[in-house]
């Protein structure tokens, strides 16, 4: 897989505050890369540096294997922090301006406005827009010139639940076209729902990164119910890949080792003529995982 963004030992210091600390990571083409971390963990600073608006204190990065330039910027669409537009210009005037910077076809402007649901408001001044509309206009601006990579910093900020669902849907649709998306968020749920890869930042340091499934599925928890609970418990004690189990109200919660799945458990139960009436895989949520990661290293 081609590397779209390669960050090497990137650091940023604001006075005595180390905002980003020796960050190294790679983003592969075609992935939806989530940058996850609490507020103030250095997500926006990192994106600001790779987008050429914040000077790194040290370290380097390349886009498509090249240093940042007008050419690489044309292949990237970005929304950093807040939607930045001229308040007295209309939505389409604003987009036209950015289109001429990016060398995008002006004919695509209306298409983009329709895509984000602002088609009917294209001639209204930006200053009269709600936060959600501003955010959607910023998404439209980011998608001008059909970029290969979208960098989105908190793209669902300020949106109502319906807007959030729409933006997520939009991200998935864009990703389905084979584009790479880099998404910063403090919303775990958001990253879990859309991302293929995730990097967790805390206090400017990279805590963990990799495919979301790896980080999530390290350990799997399975809930089982059966009429023969006693025999099942006996069996569980003898199964080598069961790390722990506990009886809950109606069921038994079983934690499996890595590389074992609920299918293994089901097969062995059935071999012992224990019929399960319920088998539920409860993945450890990213939230639980995230809290564990940030707690362990704090």
């Amino acid at each position: 897989m081609a590397i779209v963004l390669d960050i090497q030992h990137l650091s940023k210091k604001y006075g005595s505050l180390q905002a980003v600390d020796n960050l190294t990571l790679q983003v592969e083409a075609g992935s939806i890369y989530g940058l996850l971390g609490p507020n103030g963990s250095g997500k926006t600073t990192t994106l600001g540096m790779v987008l050429d608006v914040i000077n790194p204190s040290s370290g380097s990065f390349t886009w498509f294997g090249k240093p940042v330039s007008r050419d690489t910027k044309r292949r990237i669409g970005a929304l950093l922090e807040t939607p930045n537009f001229y308040p007295y210009l209309s939505a389409s005037q604003n987009l036209r301006l950015y289109a001429s910077i990016k060398g995008a076809d002006p004919a695509s402007i209306n298409e983009m406005l329709d895509l984000v649901g602002l088609g009917t408001r294209s001639h209204s001044a930006f200053s009269g827009f709600s936060l959600g509309m501003k955010q959607r206009l910023a998404l439209a601006a980011a998608m001008l010139a059909n970029p290969e990579v979208l960098v989105l910093d908190e793209p669902t900020n300020g949106l109502d639940p319906q807007g959030i669902a729409e933006v997520r849907d939009l991200i998935l649709r864009i990703a389905a076209q084979g584009k790479t998306i880099i998404l910063a968020s403090h919303l775990l749920d958001e990253v879990e729902k859309v991302c293929t890869h995730v990097a967790v930042l805390q206090a400017g340091k990279l805590k963990v990164n990799g495919p979301v499934t790896n980080i999530l599925a390290k350990t799997e928890q399975v809930l089982i119910s059966t009429d023969e609970a006693g025999r099942a418990l006996q069996l569980l004690e003898h199964l080598p890949y069961v790390t722990s189990f506990a009886s809950e109200k109606e069921c038994i919660a079983v934690t499996l080792q890595e590389n074992y799945t609920s299918a293994d458990l089901n097969r062995d139960m059935f071999a012992q003529q224990i019929v399960l009436s319920q088998l539920v895989v409860r993945r450890k949520s990213l939230e639980a995982q995230f809290l564990e990661i940030t707690k362990n290293n704090a």
Binding site: L51, T82, S100
Partner: protein, 256 residues
């Protein structure tokens, strides 16, 4: 030229820019018109300084006071970009820091050209009104004052640009710009001999539009030493280059 087109997309629909330009053109016209009716010892000023070819020196001298308005316009245009955070978005979209400075410098050159053309129109109007000799030679006699004015307006706006990029807040940047041009540098002039301070930026820019009748005043008081307009042009262009370089350095060193 794409940079200029981008700037025009911002400025043309911007009412504030038109209001400031309107004040500039209106006030200049008003002052020139009012001054043409003043009289000293019974003879109207208009009859002398408004004639070709003196009119060009008169008009550029009067206009030099209004360069502050052009500077304020430039400061507003630049500090707006900080307020709206649009400099940042333009860099993300593909412009370099040098492009940002260059784009604004094109605006400066454009405004200087427009105001010079406006002075040309005003000069022709008042000149034709008051002159009895209307030969081409008389009309074009001292028209080179217009080119000095162009350099001067560019210089004022380049300083305003530096102030805008440096301070980023419109109110403070305007105060700093006016305070430097009208208070700080004149105070420095007091404590320095003329041969040194005549090379200071504001004095150099001022030398490009000498006061009509300065020679007469110099005979009555101790003369102040000034560069002649033609000798002031070179250092003025040097200062313009310096202001541009400093603006670029500020953008380069600071985060957007």
């Amino acid at each position: 030229m794409n940079l200029l087109r981008i700037e025009l997309r911002k400025i043309l629909p911007y009412r504030t820019a038109w209001v400031i330009l309107g004040i500039f053109t209106g006030l200049l016209l008003l002052v020139l018109y009012a001054a043409s009716n003043f009289s000293i010892n019974g003879s109207a000023i208009g009859s002398d300084v408004y004639r070709f070819p003196n009119i060009w020196q008169t008009i550029t001298y009067v206009a030099s006071y209004f360069n502050l308005l052009l500077g304020i316009l430039i400061i507003v245009l630049i500090t707006d970009e900080y307020t709206f955070r649009t400099l940042r978005q333009q860099v993300i979209s593909g412009l370099s820091r040098a492009d940002l400075v260059l784009a604004k410098f094109y605006v400066v050159l454009g405004l200087a050209a427009i105001s010079t053309l406006y002075l040309l129109a005003l000069g022709l109007y008042f000149g034709l009104l008051y002159s009895s000799v209307k030969t081409g030679e008389a009309i074009l006699g001292q028209i080179d004052f217009l080119s000095y004015y162009f350099v001067q307006a560019t210089g004022y706006m380049a300083l305003a640009m530096l102030s805008g990029f440096l301070i980023r807040k419109s109110g403070l940047a305007i105060i700093a710009f006016i305070a430097y041009a009208k208070i700080v540098e004149p105070l420095i002039h007091y404590s320095l001999p003329d041969e040194v301070d005549k090379y200071f930026p504001m004095k150099v820019l001022g030398s490009l539009s000498p006061m009509p009748g300065q020679k007469l005043i110099d005979q009555l008081t101790s003369p102040t030493e000034l560069l002649s307009p033609i000798w002031a042009t070179l250092p003025a262009i040097g200062y313009i280059g310096l202001f541009l370089l400093l603006s670029y350095a500020i953008l380069k060193l600071r985060d957007l």
